[in-house]
């Protein structure tokens, strides 16, 4: 022991708290720069600064650090999906069945168009199908965060959010089924093929149901206290995220189920409407910086052309689905086109999915990762701009937030 042993050893070890703060700081600076210099949504700035700091840029955020940051991304996802779930209103879908029909049709057409396009470019059918199933989902994070940032409210906003919630579920179910098929291709046992998707779906839904039951019960016990309900909801969101990870379930599906069941099963209106937005904002910034850092520009070189085909086919499929049914539902003329734009963002959760699949089946992973991740790269940058344009053009952003 020497006289200065209280000093940290060199180089000093980073810790998650420091990482969180630095990611946040990087995000704030990147977001503000994007807004000031390019007039882009802040989200694009978060992603760009992530790209700069990540493996494609300075490589300060290497994969070890990203792993540490994953906990914050999970919490952000939890908060966002809970909020999105609360917006998914079953009673509305019963009264306006064309909205639910739109979600099914645009999902099916997005899948179909991407699948056929990839087949045309000689991608193996099974691989093409998995890639197409990932194309179904609109990014809940991008749509909700842009809407919140603009404080947008109105039919295009609400419908985009409901469609996003529905196509996220459809995408999840489809890809779970296809991954089972993939297991089979790689000679997994039949039991695994059937049981794994079933476990994911039923387990996640059950976890969400359990959380919503606890939330309603606690809400009754707490009485009508806004602060009490907010803290309780935040606690349950974090618990559910953690439990989903622990049980190897889907964070996305579990939290979506939690949100939507706590809204739709609460017949006595015990749970007060809580606004997790201000808390969520912190984690959301980190989420986008980490997403940016996880993207690989070199993959774009490999998958570039096919990625562009993928993005265009996906947009064509979704737009066809939305345009063909929207006039049957009660929305004004012109809203359909804006709705198509609002559904453009692609889910960054695809990154995780691709990496995991890649670890399981390296051959499959590398082939497809290039295409899908390049598409994510494009849409992480274009998506927020499209949503912002759509909501602003729809006249649904608050005046002061439009700047």
């Amino acid at each position: 022991m020497n006289a200065v042993s209280f000093l940290p050893s060199l180089p000093p070890a980073a810790n998650p708290v420091l990482l969180f703060g630095l990611l946040l700081l990087a995000g704030v600076i990147g977001g503000e720069l994007a807004r000031r210099t390019l007039g882009l949504p802040r989200i694009v700035g978060y992603v760009l600064i992530g790209l700069l700091l990540g493996a494609s840029g300075l490589n300060w955020l290497d994969s070890a650090l990203l792993k540490e940051a994953w906990i914050f991304v999970d919490i952000a996802l939890g908060l966002i999906l809970f909020e999105l779930g609360r917006r998914l209103d079953f009673a509305w879908l019963r009264r306006e069945p064309w909205l639910a029909a739109t979600a099914v049709l645009e999902s099916a057409l997005a899948f179909g168009c991407v699948f056929l396009a990839l087949l045309f470019f000689d991608v193996q059918p099974l691989y093409a199908a998995v890639a197409a199933s990932i194309a179904i989902a609109t990014s809940p994070t991008v749509v909700l965060v842009v809407a919140q940032e603009m404080r947008a409210e109105g039919q295009v906003t609400e419908r985009a959010l409901n469609l996003t919630a529905m196509n996220s579920v459809i995408a999840f179910v489809t890809s779970a089924m296809l991954l089972a098929w993939l297991h089979h291709e790689y000679r997994a046992s039949l039991a695994t093929v059937v049981l794994h998707p079933l476990y994911l779906l039923a387990g996640s839904a059950l976890l969400g149901y359990g959380a919503s039951f606890v939330a309603m019960t606690l809400a009754r016990w707490l009485g009508k206290s806004e602060r009490g309900h907010l803290v309780m909801s935040l606690a349950l969101i974090v618990v559910t995220v953690g439990a989903a990870r622990m049980l190897e379930l889907s964070v996305v599906l579990a939290l979506l189920a939690f949100g939507t069941l706590s809204k739709n099963l609460d017949k006595r209106h015990d749970l007060m409407p809580v606004d997790v937005g201000p808390v969520g904002q912190l984690f959301v910034v980190v989420l986008f910086v980490v997403s940016g850092a996880s993207l690989r520009a070199d993959e774009f070189a490999a998958g570039g052309v096919l990625a562009i085909v993928y993005v265009l086919a996906r947009f064509a499929g979704k737009s066809l689905g939305v345009m063909s049914l929207t006039y049957l539902s009660g929305v004004r003329r012109g809203a359909a086109g804006l709705l198509c734009l609002a559904l453009v963002p692609m889910s960054a959760t695809a990154i995780g999915m691709m990496h995991r699949t890649g670890q399981l089946y390296p051959d499959f992973g590398t082939k497809l990762a290039a295409i899908v991740l390049s598409a994510v790269l494009i849409l992480e940058l274009v998506g927020p701009i499209a949503v912002q344009f759509a909501l602003r053009r729809a006249g649904e952003a608050r005046e002061e937030a439009a700047a």
Partner: protein, 379 residues
């Protein structure tokens, strides 16, 4: 508006019509939504009774009835328009509610409806335009000629506290209990052209006043006067504007019946001469009615003594009985009398819901259920 527009055409005696300003709420936390344009667009897609129009902010919609001879057809039409609007609202996942104020919306969040007139009002009145997101019922009563309209306006002014107390349904504003039964009228009072018609005695005198104000460039048309009661030459009516929008269409029809019956009695019996002291005491009495509702103590300009508003309303309802019978409004006025005697008011119901449910979100939700006809008023 040219001079010719200010001629009072007269309308077939004592018809009645109603305008109702309503709240559009979201289904998430029951705050005000911004879907007026989509809602009106959807309603206009199919033929329907009455008319549905935009109001100053995107969170409001106005229903207009057509012209009626009495309570029953008016009530039936109002229900039909309500059902049309509710159906459209359900397709858009928004809710419609009555009540003079939204309990917890923040005025700064409101957006002005994008028409030239409303944008102009915003540029003139600034934040008052957004605070004007309050919800009133206007009752039009047909008048045979301009002089009768002036006379009717003066005599009806005595009854303004009745109208306020019977309709009061705005106890909450901006998330707080105001302690008023009708807090809505405090917002109206802030406008420079609010208040009462000057003490003119004939249509000719009124036109002189109007021309003077127009000559100064203060007003362009009658629309610019936000008076509690104003003659409306455009329709040949006198328009009473102090009612809060009640919580149900049934109540709205009953209030219109009260105004119509009162107008019939006033024009048929000519019981009183216009009295300057009505206006001397006007603001005091109006405040009393806003603050305490049916429990208010007024000073009556004709009797020259303090009176209980509850007694004054019940006495008036007795005097009106034969006229109510003639118009077929008897049962509507009987329901009002029963509510007054039992002390049932919309403001009271809203406060009771707040006590029972403990949150203003729940108040707004229950308010919308009530207006949309999905739940009954508990006795």
């Amino acid at each position: 508006m040219s001079g010719a527009d200010m001629e009072f055409p007269g309308s077939k005696g004592l018809t009645v019509g109603v305008e109702l300003e309503l709240q559009i709420l979201n289904s998430r936390d029951f705050d005000l939504a911004r879907d007026a344009a989509d809602l009106i667009g959807l309603v206009e897609k199919a033929p329907h009774a009455g008319a549905v129009k935009p109001e100053i902010t995107e969170s409001m919609v106005e229903l207009n009835s057509s012209i009626h001879q009495g309570h029953d057809t008016l009530a039936a039409e109002l229900k039909a328009i309500r059902d049309t609007v509710v159906q459209a609202a359900q397709k858009l996942n928004v809710r419609i509610a009555g009540g003079g104020s939204h309990a917890f919306h923040m005025w700064a969040d409101r957006r002005i409806y994008p028409t030239e007139r409303f944008q102009h009002l915003l540029s003139v009145y600034g934040y008052l335009a957004k605070q004007f997101t309050i919800f009133g019922q206007h009752v039009h009563v047909g008048c045979p000629d301009g002089d009768a309209a002036i006379y009717l306006t003066h005599i009806l002014s005595r009854y303004v506290p009745h109208f306020i107390a019977l309709s009061a349904s705005s106890p909450f504003q901006q998330g707080e209990d105001t302690s008023y039964q009708s807090s809505r009228l405090n917002t109206v009072t802030a406008f420079p052209l609010s208040g009462q018609m000057p003490f003119v005695q004939s249509w000719r005198e009124f036109l002189e006043y109007f021309e003077m104000m127009r000559g100064y460039g203060i007003v362009e048309s009658m629309k610019d006067f936000y008076w509690d009661i104003r003659p409306k030459p455009e329709y040949g009516t006198v328009e009473i504007r102090v009612f809060d929008t009640p919580l149900t269409v049934e109540r709205a029809a009953a209030l219109a019946a009260y105004a119509q019956t009162l107008a019939r009695q006033i024009l048929a019996d000519r019981p009183l001469a216009p009295e300057r002291d009505v206006y001397t005491l006007y603001n005091y009495n109006r405040f009393q009615a806003c603050r305490y509702g049916i429990e208010a103590k007024l000073v009556d300009a004709y009797a020259r003594r303090p009176v209980s508003l509850r007694e004054a309303v019940l006495d008036t309802l007795k005097v009106l009985a034969p006229h109510a019978a003639a118009l077929g409004n008897g049962h509507a006025l009987a329901s009002l009398a029963a509510d007054v005697e039992a002390g049932r008011t919309d403001a009271g119901w809203l406060r009771q819901m707040h006590r029972e449910r403990g949150s203003l979100n729940e108040v707004a939700r229950l308010q919308s259920e009530l207006w949309m006809g999905r739940s009954k008023v508990p006795a």
